[in-house]
C-alpha cells in the first residue's frame, strides 16, 4: 500500500487504531503548511510598500517565518495578502485571483482599506467597504498602513490558526476568523454594524432623491 504520505492530503487509510496515526499526520501536515506559506504578490496601493516590500526586505525579513517565496501567479500561491484599497472595478479581479488559488488557501487583510474602506469609507463612490465583502478573510491586520511588525504578528496568528486547525480528521469544517488586534468583548459583527450605520448616515448618493430625479427624467423623455 505504499507510504502513508503518498496519499496525503485527504486520504484516510483504514488502519487498525488509526486514530493515533491520523492525529500525528494532522500535526505534521499542519506544521508544514503553517511554515511554508507562499504569498501572492498582490498589492493595490500604499500597503504594498510596507507589507509586501519592506516586510520582505532586509531588516524585517519575512523569510524567518517561511513566507518569503512571493509568487506572481495565484496558482502557485496559498496566501493572499490584500494590501490596499479594493474598488468596485478591482473586486471581480480579486475574486478571480482567490478562486484561482488552490486549496487550502488563506487570506490576510492588511490595512484599514482592506478591512473597512479606511479613509475612503465616507463619501467615496467606488471603494468596497472591506475586502471581506468579496472573499472570506482569515486574519485582519489594522493600520494605515500597518507596520511590518504588525504583518509579522498577523502572519504568526495565521500560522497558529493553521497549526491548531483540523485538516484530515474533520475536512470541510469552517474555520472561524481570528482577529489579530480587536479587544476582548468586541466582535466583527459589532464593527460591521457600526460601519454600516456610519456609511448610511453620510452616504454621498441619496437613493430616494436619485430615484426621484431619475423618474423625473424618465417622465420628460416620454413627453
Amino acid at each position: 500500500m505504499g507510504l502513508v504520505t503518498d496519499h496525503l492530503p485527504g486520504a484516510l487509510l483504514p488502519l487498525p487504531g488509526g486514530g493515533a496515526l491520523l492525529t500525528a499526520i494532522d500535526q505534521v501536515v499542519n506544521w508544514s503548511r503553517a511554515n511554508s506559506l507562499w504569498p501572492l504578490t498582490f498589492g493595490t496601493s500604499c500597503c504594498a510598500i510596507e507589507v509586501m516590500m519592506a516586510t520582505g526586505a532586509a531588516r524585517h525579513d519575512l523569510a524567518r517565518f517561511g513566507a518569503e517565496v512571493a509568487r506572481p501567479s495565484p496558482r502557485q500561491a496559498d496566501l493572499l495578502i490584500i494590501a490596499g484599497t479594493i474598488v468596485k472595478k478591482m473586486a471581480p479581479r480579486l475574486r478571480t485571483l482567490w478562486e484561482q488559488m488552490a486549496e487550502p488557501r488563506y487570506v490576510i487583510a492588511t490595512g484599514s482599506c482592506a478591512i473597512s474602506g479606511g479613509p475612503f469609507l465616507y463619501h467615496s463612490y467606488t471603494t468596497i467597504r472591506g475586502a471581506d465583502e468579496v472573499i472570506p478573510v482569515d486574519v485582519y491586520v489594522p493600520g494605515c498602513p500597518p507596520r511590518p511588525e504588525a504583518l509579522l504578528y498577523g502572519l504568526l496568528t495565521l500560522q497558529k490558526m493553521i497549526r491548531e486547525g483540523s485538516t484530515l480528521a474533520r475536512p470541510g469544517q469552517v474555520r472561524r476568523p481570528v482577529l489579530a488586534a480587536l479587544p476582548d468583548g468586541m466582535t466583527l459583527d459589532d464593527v460591521r454594524a457600526e460601519i454600516a450605520a456610519l456609511v448610511q448616515e453620510t452616504a454621498t448618493v441619496d437613493r430616494k432623491a436619485a430615484a426621484a430625479v431619475g423618474a423625473a427624467f424618465a417622465a420628460q423623455d416620454r413627453v
Partner: protein, 386 residues
C-alpha cells in the same frame, strides 16, 4: 473626409492598420491588472506581432478611489491626509502641494523655520523615494540584490521620519499654517549620520548596477522619448528631464527655500531608459547637496502659526499651485464658494501624464523592453487613478 476617431478600446486597437512583415497574425495580451511588473493594478492592453509591441493602450480605474470627490466633503485641513494616499512615496510633497494652495487661498503665512523644515523633509523624501525606485528597478531587470540594498538604506531614513513625524509611509506632516510636530531634538544628528552612511553607499550602487554591462546594454537606446513627445504628452519630472528639457519647478518657480540653495538640475541627452536611470541617480546626489546646505541652518521659531482647532476660511474664487515631487509636477486646483469645504478640488498628478509616454515609447520594441520602460517611468498607480 476623415472617419470619426474610434472611441471604444477594441475599435481603437482594430483601427490601427499594421502589415506584419513576418506574415504573422497579430494578437492581444492583457498585461495586468495583476502583474508583478506594473507596480500595482495598472492594466495595459498590448497589441503584439510575435515579440514586437505594436500598440499599448493603458486601462485605468482599478484603484480609482474618488479622492477629488471626497475632498468636496472635507474641510480645508482635512484635505491633506488624503493626499498621502495618492503618491505614497512622495507623501510629503503631496502634503505640501495641497497645503500651499490652501495657504494661498486663505492668506496664511509661514515663517523661516517652517519653510526650512518643509524643504528639508521633502528633499529627504525625494532620496527615500529614489532609493525604493532603484531597488525595484533592479528587481524588474532581473537582479534581486538592489532590492535588499535599497531597502537597507531606506530603513535608516524611515527611522529619521518616524522619530520626528511618527509614521513610516503616510506621514501627513505638512499642514496649512505649519508642520504637525516640531523636529525631534536628534533630527539634525540623525540626518547627518544618514548622509555619512549614504554617500559611500551611493558609490556602491553605481558600482553594483550602473557599471554593470548587462544593465547598460539592457537600457541604452531602449524606450527613446524625444523632447517634443515628452512635452506634448505632458511628461514632467525625471522623465521630462531625461529627454533633455531642463524643467524643474524647484528652479523655474522656486518655493520653500529652494531659491536660497545651490543645486544643479541633471538632464539627459537621448531620452532612453539609461538617461532616466542616470538622471535619478544624479538627483539623489543633488538632494544630498541641498540637505547638506540646510541642515545646520534651520532658523529658530514656531513650527505652527495657526491654532490646530481654528477653522480655515477661504474667500470664493479659484486657486492653483504646483510643485515638484519625486516624479514630476503635482498641481492642486481649488474652487471655493466660501463654505467650509471646497466646491471642487482637482489634482494634476505627475504619474498620469508620465504613463502616457509609454504609448509613444513602447511600439516597435520588444515585450521585455516594455518592462524596463515601465520601471524607468517609476509609476505609482494610485497617483494615476486617484
Amino acid at each position: 473626409m476623415t472617419a470619426p476617431a474610434p472611441t471604444t478600446l477594441r475599435a481603437r486597437l482594430d483601427a490601427t492598420p499594421w502589415a506584419s512583415p513576418l506574415g504573422t497574425q497579430e494578437y492581444f495580451v492583457n498585461m495586468g491588472p495583476q502583474h508583478p511588473s506594473t507596480h500595482g493594478v495598472l492594466r495595459l492592453v498590448l497589441k503584439l506581432d510575435g515579440e514586437t509591441v505594436r500598440e499599448v493602450v493603458p486601462v485605468l480605474g482599478y484603484i480609482h478611489r474618488g479622492i477629488e470627490k471626497i475632498c468636496e466633503h472635507s474641510n480645508y485641513r482635512q484635505l491633506v491626509h488624503l493626499t498621502d494616499r495618492m503618491d505614497y512615496l512622495s507623501a510629503l510633497a503631496n502634503n505640501w502641494a495641497v497645503t500651499r494652495v490652501v495657504e494661498k487661498a486663505a492668506g496664511l503665512e509661514t515663517n523661516g523655520r517652517i519653510e526650512a523644515i518643509r524643504t528639508l523633509v521633502t528633499e529627504l523624501q525625494r532620496i527615500h523615494s529614489h532609493q525604493l525606485w532603484w531597488g525595484v528597478f533592479g528587481m524588474d531587470l532581473g537582479a534581486f540584490t538592489p532590492f535588499f540594498y535599497g531597502f537597507r538604506d531606506r530603513e535608516i531614513l524611515t527611522d529619521v521620519f518616524e522619530r520626528t513625524i511618527g509614521g513610516r509611509l503616510t506621514l501627513n506632516y505638512i499642514q496649512p499654517g505649519g508642520v504637525m510636530h516640531d523636529i525631534h531634538p536628534e533630527f539634525v544628528r540623525d540626518v547627518k549620520a544618514f548622509m555619512a552612511v549614504f554617500r559611500p553607499r551611493l558609490d556602491e550602487y553605481e558600482a553594483l548596477l550602473s557599471e554593470n554591462v548587462i544593465v547598460q546594454e539592457r537600457l541604452r537606446g531602449v524606450g527613446v522619448l524625444s523632447a517634443a513627445d515628452a512635452v506634448a504628452l505632458g511628461a514632467t519630472g525625471p522623465v521630462l528631464r531625461a529627454s533633455g528639457v531642463a524643467h524643474d519647478l524647484r528652479k523655474a518657480e522656486p518655493y520653500g527655500l529652494y531659491g536660497q540653495v545651490q543645486f544643479d538640475v541633471p538632464i539627459g541627452s537621448r531620452g532612453d531608459c539609461w538617461d532616466r536611470y542616470a538622471v535619478r541617480m544624479c538627483e539623489m546626489r543633488q538632494s544630498l547637496r541641498i540637505v547638506d546646505q540646510l541642515i545646520d541652518h534651520i532658523p529658530e521659531g514656531k513650527h505652527f502659526l495657526v491654532k490646530p482647532a481654528a477653522k480655515i476660511k477661504v474667500q470664493p474664487g479659484v486657486w492653483y499651485s504646483h510643485l515638484e515631487t519625486a516624479r514630476g509636477v503635482l498641481g492642486a486646483m481649488l474652487v471655493s464658494t466660501g463654505g467650509e469645504a471646497p466646491y471642487r478640488v482637482h489634482l494634476r498628478t505627475p504619474n498620469f501624464n508620465n504613463l502616457w509616454t509609454v504609448t509613444a515609447m513602447a511600439p516597435g520594441g520588444r515585450v521585455g523592453d516594455l518592462v524596463a520602460i515601465l520601471s524607468s517611468l517609476d509609476l505609482v498607480v494610485p497617483d494615476i487613478d486617484r
